[in-house]
């Protein structure tokens, strides 16, 4: 690879050389794909519910402000506090204020991509609050000082052998590479933290506007402890996650776990309705909901509107041929995979994904897997188009496409192109194929033969064919 290769291409190529990563990815994504297929195979209503879910999301977006107002009213009515964060920085400030005011020193966290998005852990540490991730995958990557590489399976890039080595190094615990044993150790370590923590931080899969209910879909039971053991609970949620009613929620719960892990339902579905009320046995004394915009609201009328329907299930990652080869870290941002490119553009702007928008063969497997059928390829093409119009594409690329466009827009030039190509390819062609070409064409020929332009194109042969008819 030349030194001028884009940073993304370099990271991707690095990932391709990591044998552990590729083994871990192949095993995990194949398993997810099979489980998802089985889950929907056993569930004939699935198709209709996906369509319904898509419509609910679309209808909710049309009146998002009203549903958010309703949600805020209902959470406050139940004694919770609602905060609105325009930016990631606002969200961090709001949460740090809560931590400071309540004197929190130790925060336990349930898995949340929204808190990854706002880089909350770094901010907490800086403010003297120790965050502890309690989802097993998140716990592993926190120990490894890494970032999640998948939306629902943050440590998908690690093999069990690597996790055992990590535990030995970081916890001083010698342990076999056995998932059950590794989980038992993590559970023991985390139990103490749950009991000591004064702050519980979660994300939210949904929030029901008509009841003020924040919904968490989890599998390990840690989410329930984070929301009930510490004195204060803060939930961070993208504004687009609001759903109108409990009936709507049921539609999403019926398809979310099937799409994500292939389970009929997740092990735990936690409904949080404000702080603990007199007579209730569990729940935090103080409950805060942080509504996060961070580029979302602008997209209601933007190119990426459809991406606001995303449930963060990760199904598109599992089926994406690119993600399956390179994993999540190579993308370089919080959200990886096909949907991650769109979310990155949403948060950081279109020019930020000038290379990432091309990290897709546009094969459409993501659309097929998406529970709400988000047309990801269409929006990737749209992002590419906007970047062409902004002229952020490299000058040589724009020149190549300009020439191509001229050639293809004129049948006369196109006809002249074939003999010219035959002349130019003469030093390189053998037996109708080309094994080496200079410049960007070499990117093709390094791993594949290229067919030579035929001695006579179809257009050139047509006159003979026509007369024989």
């Amino acid at each position: 690879m030349s030194e001028t290769a884009t940073p993304f291409r370099q990271r991707a190529a690095g990932a391709l050389n990591d044998a552990f990563l590729r083994q871990a990815l192949t095993i995990a994504t194949t398993k997810f794909i099979d489980l998802r297929r089985e889950a929907f195979g056993d569930f004939p209503e699935g198709e209709a519910l996906r369509e319904q879910a898509r419509q609910i999301k679309e209808a909710t977006l049309q009146h998002l402000d009203q549903y958010l107002d309703q949600l805020i009213d209902n959470v406050e009515r139940r004694g919770g506090h609602v905060h609105y964060a325009d930016t990631a920085e606002d969200a961090r400030r709001i949460i740090l204020d809560i931590a400071r005011r309540t004197g929190a020193r130790l925060a336990v966290k349930s898995k949340s991509m929204a808190t990854e998005e706002i880089e909350l852990n770094e901010a907490l540490i800086h403010a003297g609050v120790t965050p502890v991730e309690t989802d097993l995958g998140e716990y592993i990557i926190q120990l490894a000082h890494e970032k999640p590489s998948h939306i629902i399976a943050p440590a998908i890039h690690k093999t069990k052998g690597q996790v055992a080595e990590l535990f030995a190094r970081e916890l001083g615990r010698e342990v076999a590479a056995d998932p059950e044993e590794l989980t038992r150790i993590a559970r023991g370590e985390l139990r103490e933290k749950f009991l000591q923590a004064d702050l519980g931080i979660t994300g939210a899969n949904f929030a029901v506007a008509s009841t003020g209910t924040v919904v968490l879909v989890t599998n390990e039971g840690n989410g329930r402890m984070v929301t009930s053991l510490p004195r204060v609970h803060v939930a961070v949620m993208g504004v687009e996650k609001v759903v109108p009613s409990m009936t709507d929620l049921m539609v999403f719960l019926a398809i979310l776990a099937k799409s994500a892990t292939g389970q009929k339902l997740s092990s735990y579905t936690t409904l949080v309705q404000g702080p603990r009320h007199p007579g209730e046995l569990e729940g935090a004394e103080e409950f805060h909901l942080v509504l996060l915009d961070n580029g979302r609201v602008k997209q209601i009328a933007g190119t990426l509107r459809e991406a606001l329907s995303c449930l963060r299930c990760g199904a598109c990652l599992n089926v994406c041929p690119v993600y399956r080869q390179i994993g999540g870290h190579a993308y370089g941002y919080t959200y990886p995979g096909p949907i991650g490119i769109l979310l990155t553009a949403m948060i950081h702007g279109g020019p930020a994904v000038k290379d990432l928008a091309h990290a897709s063969s546009l094969c459409g497997a993501c659309v097929e897997a998406c529970p709400v059928k988000i047309d990801i390829p269409k929006m990737l093409i749209e992002l590419r188009k906007e970047n062409v119009e902004r002229q952020v594409a490299p000058r040589p690329e724009r020149l190549v496409f300009r020439i191509l466009a001229e050639l293809l827009a004129s049948p006369r030039l196109y006809r002249l192109g074939a003999p010219l190509a035959r002349l130019l390819q003469r030093p390189f062609a053998r037996d109708g194929a080309i094994q080496w070409l200079p410049l960007f064409l070499g990117e093709w020929t390094r791993t594949r033969d290229l067919p030579a332009v035929a001695p006579r194109t179809f257009t050139e042969r047509w006159a003979d064919l026509e007369h024989r008819s």
């Binding site: 690879m1 291409r9 991707a12 190529a13 391709l16 041929p321 690119v322 080869q325 390179i326 091309h358 990290a359 897709s360 063969s361 546009l362 094969c363 459409g364 497997a365 659309v367 093409i381 992002l383 590419r384 188009k385 906007e386 062409v388 119009e389 594409a393 496409f401 300009r402 191509l404 466009a405 293809l408 827009a409 004129s410 049948p411 196109y414 074939a418 190509a421 960007f440 064409l441 990117e443 093709w444 390094r446 791993t447 594949r448 033969d449 290229l450 067919p451 030579a452 332009v453 035929a454 006579r456 194109t457 179809f458 257009t459 050139e460 042969r461 047509w462 064919l465 026509e466 008819s469």
Partner: protein
């Protein structure tokens, strides 16, 4: 069996430049079935490469030129699923002139990928095989997920006299071509291709058929580079022109 149908061949740029023998084969095949084939002059490319890379003004210029070429066609046959997708699904959005838009709509409705045309329009599903032995089939992404077509090519292959059709593991997974993707991220593209070709070789087939020139370039180029005895062929190359 003969049918009286008129059809125009949209050869596509890759078909024209790299696989003219496939085009010739298709013309003979169709004539053998009683289809009157013409080849409207002035064709270049469907504009998908420009469109997918975000050069939409440039793609629109080509769409404006291409649509009128097929104004009088009864049917338009495209031997490539992705190009058929472009014509059927993206042209309309690129055009603003009302008259051209009406033509583009009509063109979309009359355009068929080759296997679809054979099965759904001509109604012919039985052919003698031009090649003996085991064959397998790769679903091109745009034909499968774009046009929703998986059955027409399989119907033909299952009924292919003298050949033994086997399903390809992961046949619905991308081959890694993706147009400019193949040269923008060549390492990733090649890695996806490796997996595809390992699946192809595991079938023990002599050839892998596809209905898209892009997939054929990618798979054929990879097979040739690794000096594999397996060939990547267009579905049409497997079909004998005569009566079955």
């Amino acid at each position: 069996m003969t049918v009286s149908v008129r059809a125009s061949l949209m050869i596509t740029c890759l078909g024209d430049l790299f696989y003219p023998e496939v085009g010739v084969k298709i013309v003979r095949l169709l004539r053998g079935l009683g289809v009157a084939v013409d080849f409207p002059e002035g064709q270049t490319c469907c504009a998908l490469p420009l469109f997918n890379s975000g050069y939409h003004a440039e793609a629109a210029a080509i769409a404006r030129r291409t649509v009128p070429l097929f104004r009088d066609s009864e049917y338009v046959i495209v031997p490539s699923g992705s190009c058929a997708w472009m014509v059927k699904h993206e042209y309309l959005g690129l055009l603003t002139d009302p008259a051209l838009r009406a033509q583009a709509k009509a063109l979309a409705a009359r355009t068929y990928e080759l296997s679809q045309f054979l099965v759904k329009v001509v109604g012919r599903t039985r052919f003698r095989s031009a090649m003996a032995g085991r064959v397998t089939y790769h679903d091109s992404c745009h034909l499968l997920r774009g046009l929703g077509e998986s059955e027409s090519p399989r119907t033909i292959l299952r009924n292919l006299e003298g050949a033994d059709f086997v399903e390809l593991g992961g046949s619905d997974e991308c081959c890694g071509f993706g147009g400019s993707f193949a040269v923008r991220l060549p390492e990733v593209s090649a890695s996806i291709l490796d997996k595809k070709l390992a699946n192809v070789e595991a079938t023990g087939a002599r050839c892998v058929a596809a209905c898209d020139a892009g997939c054929l370039m990618q798979m054929g180029g990879g097979l040739r580079r690794r000096r594999s005895p397996v060939r990547a062929v267009h579905l049409a190359e497997l079909l004998e022109a005569g009566e079955s």
